[in-house]
């Protein structure tokens, strides 16, 4: 079953995020992907995450696809104008990749080459709209596409911890109207925050997958609390990570992630695990969470 078919079938969805290296190595991702493929419904591949120049999302998606895995192509609006975005959508479709997650993308000022020109010709709502239009045989400008027309399964992101939440919800509604079929959220660490969000987002009747970012250290948790918008790691998790001996950190992180998944999975349609470099531990997270 494809990811789209699973969404339609009402299955509980599990996705894992891969962040390509600043280089050409792809095999470790393929090996990890294969080891958990029976339990994972889709593998997101980030698009120059944190605005750092690196291997492209499409390249790793193609490799995953060739290895029999189900890739989810992440596309940001930061680096490509509307021609390049649509062309890459066609390229993805030509390789049989139909899942696309639209993101705004971090500004180049957050990355490793501040001199780069930010593009943002489209925003996410416009990108989703263009992809939907291509399915009808037209590009964004209304020019005809040659058959066969591409088919997409379109996703978007939302930040449940944003304060105020209303602007996020307004944009979420626009993304749904533009064609988003599933949502993956920013990292969630607090069940009550997520519950409040879900109660308001339910009205859009779109599958929402809760974002789980593996905590790697107390320092990382504190950094996120200070710098990552809408993310709050409660003190007890920070303390548990700080108290864990160095060799026990991975186990503690997995324990926290699986507890969170246990608390949150009943409120939504799926779990999206973002291991941030700890891809190899995803299998253990799934084991611990009983997924």
């Amino acid at each position: 079953m494809t990811f789209k078919e699973k969404i339609k079938a009402g299955k509980f969805l599990i996705t894992v995020e891969f962040g390509p290296e600043k280089g050409t190595e792809t095999q470790p991702f393929i090996d990890i992907g294969k080891s958990i493929a029976d339990r994972v419904d889709g593998f997101n591949v980030t698009d120059l995450q944190s605005a750092v120049m690196r291997l492209g999302s499409l390249a790793l998606c193609i490799k995953l696809k060739e290895a029999g895995l189900e890739p989810i192509l992440q596309m940001t609006c930061r680096d490509r104008n509307r021609l390049a975005l649509q062309s890459d959508l066609l390229s993805a479709a030509a390789f049989g990749i139909e899942n696309m997650l639209a993101l705004t993308g971090d500004h180049p000022m957050l990355g490793d080459d501040h001199a780069a020109k930010p593009v943002f010709d489209y925003d996410t709502v416009q990108l989703l709209g263009a992809a939907r239009k291509m399915e009808t045989g037209q590009d964004a400008a209304g020019n005809k596409l040659a058959e066969p027309f591409p088919r997409f399964c379109l996703g978007a992101v939302v930040n449940p911890g944003a304060d105020p939440l209303e602007p996020q919800l307004m944009k979420m509604e626009k993304k749904v109207a533009a064609g988003a079929e599933f949502f993956q959220t920013q990292a969630v660490y607090e069940a009550d925050t997520f519950e409040k969000f879900i109660r308001q987002a339910e009205q859009f009747k779109v599958p929402i997958m809760v974002g789980i970012v593996l905590l790697k250290s107390a320092g990382m948790a504190k950094y996120m609390n200070e710098h990552v918008a809408g993310v709050h790691v409660p003190d007890n998790y920070i303390k548990r990570m700080a108290d864990a001996p160095k060799e026990g950190r991975v186990a503690e992180s997995i324990a926290i992630a699986s507890e969170l998944i246990g608390k949150l999975k009943g409120m939504c349609r799926g779990v999206h695990i973002m291991p941030i470099g700890w891809e190899k531990h995803c299998g253990k997270v799934l084991d611990a969470a009983g997924l």
Partner: protein, 224 residues
């Protein structure tokens, strides 16, 4: 107003290195307000250049450095000083520079950097005296939508120029992910539209910009 800042004295001297005789020019409008090329700054620059061993052959201070016909007229009485100079140093914007270059066909060295189009927004008393603040408010997109945005320009106030609402990077205190000193433009728009009871405008789908309206160089005419 076209907002400028002066280049550093070091940069200016470096650009002037091959030249000895310099003609100075400024502007009584924007560059005077920005304190980059008014009477005071031209005098300061004359003093600095003289002390640095250059010869200032004369200077021009037009009402508006960006209006070619009157600047041309003003220059007539200064023809000799201009002819004597090997180079022109201009303390105003890139428009003033091109007006002077067009008239004189000389190399006009930009003594200022042209930053943005923006109003003088506030004047505050500081230990250094009265300080004017200029803020970038319009990116000259060629298709104004301020009425849909509560009078706040998303092309300019949002670092990404997003048209359909905020990105996920707005910080806890409603600042932009790019710079914690800058408010998130979309939070400004949201708060303003909420105040106006017009959040319906934010819910409306904004199409992508038509950049064909901005194919450069543009020109326009007006009857006198």
């Amino acid at each position: 107003m076209v907002v400028t800042v002066q280049k550093s004295r070091e940069d200016i001297l470096k650009k002037l290195e091959p030249f000895q005789k310099v003609f100075l020019s400024g502007c009584k409008s924007c560059a005077t307000t920005c304190r980059t090329g008014g009477e005071r700054e031209l005098k300061e620059m004359t003093k600095f250049l003289t002390e640095s061993g250059k010869e200032v052959t004369g200077y021009l201070l037009p009402e508006k450095g960006c209006l070619l016909p009157p600047v041309k007229k003003d220059l007539r009485s200064l023809q000799k000083a201009m002819d004597d100079a090997e180079v022109v140093l201009l303390l105003c914007c890139g428009l003033g520079n091109q007006v002077l270059t067009e008239i004189t066909k000389k190399i006009v060295i930009p003594g200022c950097d042209t930053l943005f189009l923006g109003p003088e927004w506030k004047t505050e008393l500081s230990p250094a005296g009265l300080i004017n603040t200029f803020e970038e408010k319009c990116s000259l997109c060629g298709d104004c939508i301020l009425d849909l945005m509560g009078g706040l320009c998303p092309h300019t106030l949002c670092a990404k120029g997003l048209l359909n609402g905020p990105c996920g990077g707005t910080t806890k205190d409603s600042k932009c992910e790019v710079d914690s000193d800058r408010p998130c433009g979309w939070m400004l728009i949201y708060n303003r539209l909420k105040e106006l009871g017009r959040l319906d405008l934010m819910k409306a789908n904004q199409p992508a910009k038509d950049w064909s309206k901005k194919i450069k160089p543009l020109h326009s005419k007006a009857a006198v």
